[in-house]
């Protein structure tokens, strides 16, 4: 690749390395797989960068990461890891009026990550792209290759699952 293309890659793609890793880490089951899949995706991005003519490098690279994660999961290259739940839960103030909201407020880190990790991949990716990376429905649709309407319905279903999982964890503990 020509030096100017490499400079363009550095300027356009490398700033999104953290975002790429974040997506990989939440879509894969452990740090090692996330590292490997993110690396593979970035190298693929480097290889095909010549063909990138769009203006949204972040969405472009996230789409590559997302596809790499799917491929890994499909081919069973990753090592499944049991989802761990922390025994401890912060006992936040539980108001009487909105019990479920209070339960959600009481959710701790392990419970949240556990609930996210337990989501099926197609739900997990829209949640991460929206909640962690703050992308618009349109961008998410481009990355996950689904219509905006599907983005909306998947997000909604994913959140219902998360809310259910978190409240039931909290209820068990209380």
């Amino acid at each position: 690749m020509a030096p100017s293309e490499l400079a363009r890659f550095e300027a356009l793609v490398l700033p999104h390395l953290d975002a790429a890793y974040t997506l990989a880490r939440y879509l894969m089951d452990n740090d090692d797989d996330a590292h490997d899949v993110a690396q593979e995706a970035l190298l693929r991005a480097l290889k095909y960068f010549d063909g990138f003519r769009g203006d949204d490098a972040r969405a472009w690279v996230l789409a590559i990461v997302r596809n790499a994660c799917h491929t890994w999961q499909r081919t069973g290259r990753s090592h499944p890891v049991a989802v761990e739940f922390n025994e401890e839960l912060h006992s936040g103030a539980v108001g009487d009026e909105h019990p479920e909201a209070a339960l959600l407020r009481a959710a701790d880190r392990e419970a949240v990550r556990g609930a996210v990790a337990a989501l099926p991949l197609e739900f997990r990716e829209v949640i991460i792209l929206r909640e962690v990376q703050g992308l618009s429905y349109k961008e998410i649709g481009e990355i996950a290759e689904i219509p905006v309407g599907t983005v909306m319905s998947r997000l909604s279903r994913a959140r219902r699952r998360l809310a259910r999982a978190l409240s039931s964890v909290a209820r068990e503990r209380s």
Binding site: L6, F9, Y137
Partner: protein
């Protein structure tokens, strides 16, 4: 709006993905309906839990390093033939001869060479992927102010994209005489580094053109600045580029700006 409609659009409402007219209706319903207000609060609680406990992450340093290494590997030509050992010895002998030869070069010339060496090294190093740009922008009004506070002078940055030399950005670099501005322009596949520093800071002596290892280096003194331009671009085009820079400089120096 019915509760069913509200529920169906609640996600998009919180995600700011609804048209303004619908947002108004949603807000009205939210104020009027206690049950829907509770759903709304549940949703917000869930999002707060996610924001708090499922943060964005940083790529591990090892990952960043391996990507940078892959970029460097792309620049280094893949075909670096492995020489048999006797050829290494022969190469070493030649090198010793070269070093011994260089030893005898007059000191003034050696100083000028040290400078061109440093500039060429800076340019090549930047291409190796470690440090091409500190500020990546094609906007001169972004690149120029970036140097504020980092240098004791403000380098001239021009938009030459219309002439086929787009601005890629700039970086801070160190050559023999301290911190200098390096502006980076592109030409098709080629990268051009433009180094400049105040002329009174010296050294200003040096040959006007140097060609080394396939790189061309052009040097001139504008009224205020010593300039060095380094690139693997053909010398005709590089000369055209320097003329554009010089013309832009003298246009900027005229009080009426023309």
């Amino acid at each position: 709006m019915t509760c069913k409609d509200f529920e169906a659009q609640l996600d998009a409402y919180i995600d700011n993905e609804l048209p303004p007219a619908v947002v108004g209706e949603m807000t009205e319903h939210l104020d009027a309906c206690a049950a829907c207000a509770r759903s709304h609060e549940r949703q917000l609680a869930l999002r707060r839990a996610l924001t708090q406990h499922a943060p964005a992450l940083q790529a591990p340093p090892g990952l960043r390093a391996s990507i940078r290494q892959a970029i460097r590997a792309q620049i280094r030509p893949a075909a670096t033939p492995r020489l048999p050992e006797w050829r290494w010895l022969a190469a070493a002998a030649v090198l010793v001869g070269v070093v011994a030869g260089t030893w005898r070069v007059a000191t003034t010339r050696a100083r000028a060479e040290a400078l061109t060496d440093a500039l060429l090294a800076s340019h090549v190093r930047s291409l190796l992927g470690s440090h091409l740009l500190d500020v990546a922008s094609s906007d001169q009004h972004t690149v120029k102010p970036w140097f504020n506070g980092k240098l004791d002078y403000s380098p001239s940055v021009y938009d030459l994209a219309g002439r086929g030399y787009p601005l890629l950005g700039g970086r801070l670099d160190y050559v023999a005489n301290g911190a200098v501005a390096a502006l980076v322009y592109g030409r098709r596949q080629h990268v051009i580094s433009v180094f400049l520093w105040p002329a009174e800071r010296g050294p200003t002596a040096g040959p006007a053109t140097v060609t080394r290892q396939g790189y061309h280096m052009l040097h001139w003194i504008a009224p205020d600045y010593a300039y060095w331009v380094v690139s693997d671009l053909g010398s005709t085009e590089l000369r055209e580029f320097t003329q554009l820079l010089q013309r832009a400089d003298s246009a900027a120096a005229r009080p009426d700006g023309r």
